[in-house]
């Protein structure tokens, strides 16, 4: 992991680059919201309000905010299973996201998907996917549809497909990048490189650990950016999306960040070295962005504390909503199996006869 730290690009994190104060404040509010939501998700998991697998964006807040600041409402977003922060910043209410984690009918996926499968057609969040890399071919196909449905240009839509560092080793990644490069599809593949698969480092998993270079085989520009720098992430992603929508040039963007905790909430991450843990904590983008905005005079200590408090209140409201929401109705068990009604659809529950005896 020390090697990973050495490969980080020169950071521009010290500069606020003449950004409007309101924008910077918005970004801090968003980072604070994601942080508060994820800490509370962890707590709710420990209290058994959330089941299954639950992967958090803790430590990746600047990456989440930067990417979601770049993507436009008309664009389509596909992600892996570490998807809570993206859903929140795509505009879904914390209530509906928390309700999904609680398995409630008011959740974004009606309580049928859970943490890994957040989906919202209206905001074009086209899924959270639990199978590593499962989202990459469909995201590529969404870009194929866009290419056939729209004319390239600044107003065209594009696809952003998020994936983890470990995912760059699966076949579907390479097959999809080949299709996108071959057919010139409007898509940006974003590798959120937090340095670890579950516990396996990039260096132990990838023969070419500079993952952005993997685009070269597909004549696709590869770009690496510091994931702790929200403005750098935003600008790199905007540039990539612009190439996708205007020139139909797919781009591979690698965002370098750290995971503050284990792979999922149940993982104590004992495999991590103390050095790595120290670097991750020192790189924590939330306090560092907060400190930067205070030192730049964008926020006062009081402002920042108020933002953090507001985020916490917002998440508390979401927890209450999720807790009080009803479970999905068991009578609706088969409701969404098929879109087109079909003869003889099986609807037997366990132990029920498959048909009446004639």
């Amino acid at each position: 992991m020390a090697a990973k730290a050495r490969t980080r690009p020169e950071s521009t994190v010290e500069s606020t680059g003449g950004e409007p104060a309101d924008t910077l404040r918005d970004y801090y509010e968003q980072m604070s919201l994601v942080r508060a939501f994820e800490l509370r998700s962890s707590e709710m998991y420990a209290r058994a309000k959330i089941g299954g697998y639950c992967h958090l964006n803790l430590g990746e807040e600047a990456t989440v905010v930067g990417l979601m600041a770049a993507i436009e409402a008309r664009d389509y977003l596909f992600t892996g299973y570490r998807d809570h922060g993206y859903a929140l910043l795509r505009g879904l209410s914390p209530e509906r996201v928390m309700a999904e984690l609680f398995g409630k009918v008011t959740g974004v996926s009606g309580g049928r998907g859970g943490s890994m499968h957040l989906f919202d057609a209206e905001t074009r969040l086209f899924g959270g996917y639990g199978i590593v890399g499962g989202q990459i071919p469909p995201a590529t196909g969404a870009a194929l549809a866009l290419k056939n449905q729209e004319v390239a240009g600044p107003d065209a839509a594009a696809v952003m497909c998020l994936l983890g560092d470990g995912t760059t080793n699966i076949g579907a990644f390479h097959e999809s990048l080949n299709l996108a490069g071959l057919w010139k599809l409007p898509i940006v593949y974003v590798i959120v490189n937090n340095g670890l698969g579950m516990g396996t480092t990039v260096e132990k998993a990838s023969a070419e650990p500079d993952l952005y270079k993997r685009g070269a085989s597909y004549r696709m520009p590869g770009v690496r950016v510091d994931g702790d720098d929200v403005l750098a992430v935003r600008d790199a992603a905007r540039d990539a999306l612009q190439q996708a929508r205007e020139s139909r040039q797919p781009v591979l963007l690698e965002v370098m960040c750290y995971r503050l905790r284990g792979h999922s909430v149940v993982d104590p991450a004992r495999y991590r070295s103390s050095e790595d843990t120290t670097i991750a904590q020192q790189s924590d983008p939330v306090p560092s962005f907060r400190a930067k905005l205070i030192s730049a005079g964008v926020l006062s200590e009081t402002d920042a504390a108020a933002i953090d408090e507001a985020a916490d209140v917002r998440v508390s409201e979401a927890v209450v909503f999720a807790d009080e929401s009803p479970e999905p109705d068991v009578d609706d068990l088969f409701k969404y199996v098929y879109a087109t009604a079909v003869a003889n659809m099986p609807t037997a529950l366990a132990g029920e006869p498959v048909m009446d005896a004639l």
Binding site: A172, A343, M355
Partner: protein, 339 residues
């Protein structure tokens, strides 16, 4: 009858598929075809002859050899409202794409609470008997028929190929469309006008009173051949063509067996855990009291299919095997023709 115009034509199963693809491409500009060698090469089995020339490379897309990639890409295009029709060269190669089919296409609508539908057709032939050896001769339809969220259809005639493919393309769910290598050149009467089958329904393709043969795809052709042969010997055999493997039309199967009291399943897949196992269980549950003999299954020998013609022939279920088992179930002594 001098005002009558021809309402049917005799064409091959291949031609019925080709004409249906053409008609659907013409009818709906959201429909597009994607697969390996379907454009310039016009398809490994020449199902897509002439379509690239007439519809262009945006509607008839030659994909690189990347089943997981292009099946998943078709799925993603379907999520945005396109109606892709994928050709996988044979069902054997679909295993490379099975994550996208089983873990994704079949799940999305349910997992996302109906917010998205997947109007995706995946066409692929199965079948042995062409000396293509173990990896290229499988009948893996039960892998897909097992999965809720998929629909699996298996036409046995050119007319059904037309009607079921039309229905599959217009359906808003992922449909596995099972073809068979040995059926492509089979001929049959096909109505000239538009035909849209109801997915999920079986058909009684021959009526009879003594015994029911349940089959699908190529097997139905053999079942009809055997039924007619036995008819000449005074046996009245009913043949149920499943047409849809998921959902399964249990009522039609059981209604037939209730009438005949005897049932044999003829299937091209392997015996254990195969299509016939599900049919037999259905008959046991639905019409046990009407059975006069145990249900029998005629299926492939459980071996990776060898190349050598003698071994291949021995491993695959044949008309003679079926006729023999029908006689056994009816407790009739066999004739020399059966061996």
């Amino acid at each position: 009858m001098n005002t009558e115009v021809a309402t049917t034509r005799t064409i091959t199963y291949r031609q019925a598929l080709n004409e249906t693809l053409r008609a659907e491409l013409e009818r709906d500009d959201k429909v597009f075809l994607i697969g390996e060698e379907i454009g310039i090469f016009e398809g490994s089995y020449k199902i897509t002859v002439g379509l690239l020339e007439d519809f262009g490379p945006d509607r008839v897309i030659d994909a690189p050899i990347a089943e997981e990639g292009f099946v998943g890409a078709a799925l993603g295009a379907a999520m945005l409202g396109m109606r892709p029709v994928v050709e996988i060269m044979t069902i054997n190669f679909s295993l490379i794409a099975i994550d996208q089919i089983v873990n994704h296409a079949a799940k999305m609508r349910s997992m996302f609470a109906g917010q998205v539908s997947i109007p995706l057709v995946i066409r692929m032939p199965g079948g042995g008997g062409q000396q293509l050896a173990a990896t290229h001769s499988q009948n893996l339809e039960v892998w897909y028929a097992h999965i809720p969220g998929l629909k699996v259809v298996a036409p046995s005639t050119p007319a059904d190929a037309k009607a079921l493919l039309t229905a599959a393309i217009r359906d808003d769910d992922p449909v596995i469309f099972l073809e068979n290598l040995s059926l492509y050149s089979a001929k049959g009467e096909v109505p000239n006008d538009e035909q849209v089958a109801e997915i999920g329904k079986a058909a009684v393709v021959k009526t009879g009173t003594d015994l029911t043969i349940v089959s699908y795809s190529r097997g139905t052709t053999t079942a009809l051949e055997v039924a007619r042969q036995l008819e000449a010997e005074g046996l009245s055999i009913e043949v149920v063509d499943l047409r849809s493997l998921r959902p399964l039309d249990r009522d039609t199967i059981c209604a037939s067996v209730k009438k005949t009291g005897h049932a044999v399943v003829f299937e091209d897949d392997w015996l254990s855990y195969g299509i016939g196992a599900e049919i037999s269980a259905t008959i046991g549950e639905g019409v046990f009291d009407f059975l006069d003999a145990p249900v029998r299954r005629v299926a492939a020998a459980e071996v990776p299919l060898p190349y050598a013609k003698s071994l291949e022939k021995a491993a695959l279920p044949s008309a003679a095997d079926l006729a023999r088992v029908v006689r056994e179930v009816l407790n009739i002594s066999s004739t020399p023709n059966d061996k």
